[in-house]
């Protein structure tokens, strides 16, 4: 029975055209560490076809406790995290569209503009805020995941985290209280001295799986009335993922931090765009028009000569 099923039969409840919708979609993934690498793997299994994967780093031995797809054999050659992500995707997706950016996301904004959804699995609040602002400017849904381990003292720890769907027009990370001026100032003060933060594979997995679930809901919903704003709290000690109070309270709140008149590039000028477009079209034309090979030219010359009765 299983042999006769296609690869995606078990997820056919996502809709009759879900396979093509998912393959046609492009996700931007910023941060390919513990959380992002899980998302790469699951998105590949799901059948998402387009990826813009961004991370400036390479794998180190301290990443191997959680970086999905990374192996011990990757440590010595210092394989880039984007290369590990690409390897994962190519192993799971037929004819994938992958753009790898081994740099910060700021160098990949043109690629990110083409994404249907952007997912941030980044460590810092400033990155979260900037990435969300970029997504809002381009009317792209942004999904944020993050976890932390808090020292409670006396050898006790609390694993916490969050998954937020920040939809243009709906509550943002500031509305959620995740990004605050205080946190940004605190983070800026610690710049360069942050050290490594505790991270574990299973918590990242819970958060990443939830994010992939949200991506799937947005692209191929399997029930009606999916929420436009999601804020889930993860408690790794209790093993629970629960809606934050603000998720219910703010469902109809209009975000005041990212007003709609901020969409687009404030310096955009269609006259410049149109000139660039014409130059690109001309360059394309020049590249595609080559002189005919000598043999073809000779044949043509002979034909013309015959018509006019001349011999070469």
């Amino acid at each position: 029975m299983e042999d006769r099923m296609s690869r995606f039969d078990r997820q056919s409840f996502l809709g009759p055209d879900s396979e093509s919708k998912l393959h046609g979609a492009t996700i931007g993934l910023v941060g390919l560490g513990g959380g992002g690498s899980h998302i790469v793997q699951q998105s590949g299994h799901l059948g998402i076809g387009g990826y813009v994967v961004i991370d400036p780093d390479h794998i180190t031995d301290t990443n191997t406790n959680r970086l999905i797809g990374g192996t011990l054999a990757d440590i010595v050659p210092a394989t880039a995290k984007v290369a590990i992500a690409e390897r994962q995707i190519r192993g799971l997706v037929e004819i994938p569209r992958i753009i790898t950016v081994r740099d910060t996301w700021h160098t990949a904004i043109d690629d990110l503009k083409r994404c249907d959804i952007i997912i941030g699995a980044v460590d810092s609040f400033i990155q979260r805020e900037q990435l969300e602002r970029f997504a809002r400017r381009h009317l792209i849904p942004y999904i944020d995941i993050g976890m932390d381990v808090h020292d409670l003292g006396k050898g006790q720890y609390l694993i916490g985290g969050q998954v937020i769907l920040s939809m243009p027009g709906k509550p943002c990370l500031r509305c959620c209280g995740l990004v605050t001026d205080e946190r940004l100032t605190q983070e800026a003060g610690k710049y360069g001295a942050a050290g490594s933060r505790p991270q574990v594979v299973w918590s990242n997995g819970v958060l990443a799986s939830t994010a992939v679930g949200l991506v799937t809901q947005l692209l191929t919903p399997w029930f009606k009335g999916i929420p436009g704003f999601v804020y889930l709290d993860y408690d790794g000690n209790r093993g629970t993922l629960t809606p934050n109070d603000r998720m219910g309270l703010f469902q109809n709140k209009v975000c005041s931090h990212h007003p709609p008149d901020e969409t687009g590039d404030p310096l955009f000028d269609v006259r410049v765009f149109d000139r660039l477009r014409a130059d690109m079209a001309l360059a394309k034309l020049k590249a595609s028009s080559k002189p005919a090979p000598v043999s073809e030219r000779q044949t043509l010359w002979l034909s013309i000569s015959k018509i006019f009765g001349r011999k070469r």
Binding site: D110, K113, R137, L139, T220, D265, V270, R271, A281
Partner: protein, 167 residues
């Protein structure tokens, strides 16, 4: 080159509701949308910001067409383009389901007034949209002196995401 048009689902629903309101003599309603813009290589994104309906008193009583805007309606839209430096799109609805298309009258009238927006906001493209209850269709001018181009890709941003290409 691909021209992408993105609009928030809630805003689109507001526009549809507004355009469906009856007018005391016009058979259709019209309005204007403003949009921010962005590009990458030869791709262009029209990112809708807001909507303003044409005021009740700014319609002309012309039974030969569904709705005829008076000079004040155009003047207010032109002022909007100039004051905020935004792209402006004229919008009306043909209702029904499926992909809508412009009528001959629509195309004739657009060609008269859309190029005027370049006098006040020459840095932005401008255009016109026609809605159905399920889709959008649109034309865009990148230059007042060139023919319009058809907007090819549409995304309704919300939960779920809904996108389509012009047939």
């Amino acid at each position: 080159m691909t021209i992408h048009f993105k609009i928030n689902r809630s805003l689109l629903e507001t526009i549809r509701r507004d355009l469906a309101r009856p007018h005391h003599f016009a058979r259709e309603r019209v309005g204007f949308l403003s949009a921010g813009l962005s590009s990458a290589a030869d791709d262009l994104w029209i990112l809708v910001r807001s909507y303003r309906p044409v005021a009740e008193g700014d319609y002309l009583d012309d039974p030969s067409v569904g709705a005829m805007m008076g000079p004040d309606a155009i003047r207010k839209a032109l002022q909007w383009a100039m004051a905020e430096g935004v792209a402006i799109f004229h919008a009306h609805t043909h209702c029904g389901r499926g992909q809508p298309g412009f009528s001959g009258v629509d195309l004739r009238e657009q060609a008269k007034f859309v190029p005027n927006f370049f006098q006040l906001a020459p840095q932005c493209p401008h255009g016109a949209l026609v809605l159905s209850d399920t889709y959008l269709h649109g034309n865009i001018w990148l230059d007042a002196n060139k023919p319009y181009e058809v907007i090819t890709d549409f995304v309704q941003v919300g939960a779920p995401l809904y996108s389509w290409r012009t047939a």
